[in-house]
């Protein structure tokens, strides 16, 4: 079912007209209201008046996460702060958060694209939607919430955690749609089994899973364990949050809400746009946002765009499920983690940065992050108590910096393999991008 058939199935020509009109308005907005964008465009020798067609998008400068960091917290806002009614934030590379803002209209757009997403999976006003994404600065919880309210579903805002209660609520309230991270869904399935709860006997029929990469085999497992259809949803707080793209019942790529977010795929090295069908870095330009518009934002997510019509009737471009990252960002339990954040903590901890390695695994269906730290002579003591205290203190500092639980393991020097003299910082055993 389509929530907004007018926009979701509009002809390619009409969509391009709409996109161009909105692009021009957005570029004018940032040019006039945000010094950073104006300076960048002046440096590139381009003004809003130079935009003559959608193809001219490629002349606009990119925006990066580093730009967001440099303008922390509100430097890129293109609306008066009095107009901003909501703030969200995600982790940055060095401890500084990436902050985004929304006007009332922005929240309307977000609710709209989220409502489309829910409708795309077959959800509607008769559904009871359990939202087990975290509520708070993270966009997952509130984003899904507003969309679910807009479609008129019964919203069950459980937020994350307390898995036994999640399952009790799911059973007792007759939940039909579950929205959470795919790894948490698997963890719920495991807990249900331990509790002797038969998930197949519940009215649950749809799962909307996102905020972290997952694979086709993982989808099959979730579908089998719950007896539901599991849909992949894509979004990032910088662009708006969840709802940027969603699978339809065909489960063959994610339809992008193209009337609000203009997608491109570029070669991450040459920065040249790639043709549809080619794999590269996803770049988005927001077309309707007021408080936090972004021009050609480099997501660092790898994907492919498919322009072909879909059997579901939507005419929007589809993106392949995320195929990887161009940087070393990890998504663990839905939280963005950069190795550099851990490095900053270790730097604070002593005079020299010890060699470290992050090992990410899935244990009992839940992401597990182990931080291995090579014990240097400065850190080493012959008393177990002192070493245990050292490990615990590093763990506490990392946990407070990242906001997730980690395990710290002290290891021998040189036991972390080096390639070309540089330590291999991350081992991800989750196999997220396969299949």
């Amino acid at each position: 079912m389509m929530w907004s058939p007018e926009y979701e199935s509009m002809s390619g020509e009409r969509r391009r007209e709409l996109q161009f009109k909105r692009l021009k308005a957005t570029v004018e907005r940032v040019y006039n209201k945000v010094g950073f964008y104006r300076a960048k465009m002046e440096k590139a020798g381009i003004t809003p008046a130079d935009l003559r067609s959608l193809d001219d998008l490629k002349y606009l400068p990119f925006t990066t996460k580093e730009d967001l960091r440099l303008n922390y917290p509100f430097g890129l806002f293109a609306a008066e702060l009095d107009e901003v009614v909501r703030i969200h934030a995600s982790s940055g590379t060095t401890g500084k958060m990436t902050v985004v803002g929304y006007t009332k209209n922005d929240l309307g757009v977000w609710s709209e694209v989220m409502a489309r997403s829910i409708a795309s999976t077959g959800g509607g006003r008769h559904d009871r939607i359990q939202i087990a994404y975290g509520y708070g600065l993270f966009t997952g919880g509130l984003g899904a919430h507003y969309g679910a309210e807009l479609v008129g579903a019964m919203v069950v805002p459980t937020s994350g955690g307390n898995t036994k209660r999640q399952l009790q609520v799911m059973r007792d309230f007759g939940v039909t749609v579950l929205a959470c991270t795919p790894s948490y869904a698997l963890y719920m399935a495991e807990t249900a089994q331990e509790q002797g709860l038969d998930l197949h006997a519940l009215p649950l029929r749809v799962g909307i899973f996102g905020a972290e990469p997952w694979s086709e085999p993982m989808r099959q497992r979730i579908e089998a364990e719950f007896g539901i259809k599991a849909y992949d949803i894509y979004g990032l707080s910088e662009i708006i949050g969840p709802g940027v793209a969603i699978e339809c019942v065909e489960q063959n790529g994610l339809h992008i809400a193209e009337d609000h977010f203009l997608p491109e795929v570029i070669d991450p090295v040459t920065e040249q746009p790639l043709a549809d069908g080619e794999k590269g870095e996803l770049v988005f330009t927001t077309l309707t946002k007021e408080a936090f518009p972004l021009i050609r934002y480099r997501t660092k997510d790898l994907s492919i765009l498919y322009p072909e019509a879909c059997a579901c009737g939507r005419t929007t471009k589809r993106m392949h499920r995320i195929l990887g990252r161009t940087d070393d960002m990890l998504i663990i339990r839905g939280v963005n983690i950069f190795p550099s954040q851990i490095e900053s903590v270790l730097l604070e901890n002593g005079d020299t940065t010890p060699h470290y390695q992050l090992v990410v695994d899935r244990k009992g269906n839940l992401d597990d992050l182990e931080v291995r730290i090579e014990v240097s002579e400065e850190m080493f003591a012959s008393e177990i108590r002192k070493l245990e205290e050292l490990g615990a203190s590093i763990r506490r500092k990392i946990e407070s910096a990242l906001g997730i639980n980690v395990r710290v393991k002290l290891v021998e020097p040189k036991s972390i393999p080096r390639s070309e003299g540089k330590a291999v910082r991350v081992i991800d055993r989750r196999n997220l991008y396969n299949g």
Binding site: V375, S376, E377, F380, S382, I384, K414, S415
Partner: protein, 143 residues
């Protein structure tokens, strides 16, 4: 009369201890005493050897994390109650023990107990004129 113990950080992996002793053997270093403290992930090997400086150097050269730790070595009569009297004396003098381990020397009349205490210098000072017999380095390493 502080003496030197060599402390080595070892992960709980098979063959680690064999490797350390092999390095020491190849460099003709004799182990006088040894103790291991361990956790789930790692252990600390504590060694008394005949040549601590050389032991440290060769183990470091092999990439191990090594430290010299100051400890005291006490000669204890190898008979019932021998250790008890020493511990009582330490307690009376307010010397806190971090860890300890014992070995029997070649003569078999006395045992040697190695103590890691909180404040080594203070402990040595307090024990100087007591019943507790501290062994100097020269004697300990070749005991």
């Amino acid at each position: 009369m502080k003496v030197k113990q060599i402390s080595v950080f070892l992960e709980n992996k098979s063959g680690r201890l064999a490797q350390v002793t092999k390095i020491l053997g190849a460099n003709r270093i004799n182990i006088r005493a040894l103790a291991i403290a361990d956790t789930a992930d790692y252990g600390i090997l504590r060694l008394i050897v005949n040549d601590p400086a050389k032991a440290r150097a060769v183990l470091r050269a092999e990439g191990l994390t090594v430290r010299e730790t100051e400890v005291i070595a006490v000669e204890v009569p190898d008979q019932p109650g021998g250790l008890g009297r020493v511990l009582q004396e330490l307690d009376d003098k307010g010397i806190n023990i971090e860890y300890m381990y014992a070995f029997v020397g070649k003569t078999a009349e006395n045992a040697i107990v190695i103590f890691r205490v909180e404040e080594t210098d203070r402990a040595v000072e307090l024990l100087k004129n007591s019943q507790v017999k501290l062994l100097p380095e020269s004697e300990l390493y070749h005991y």
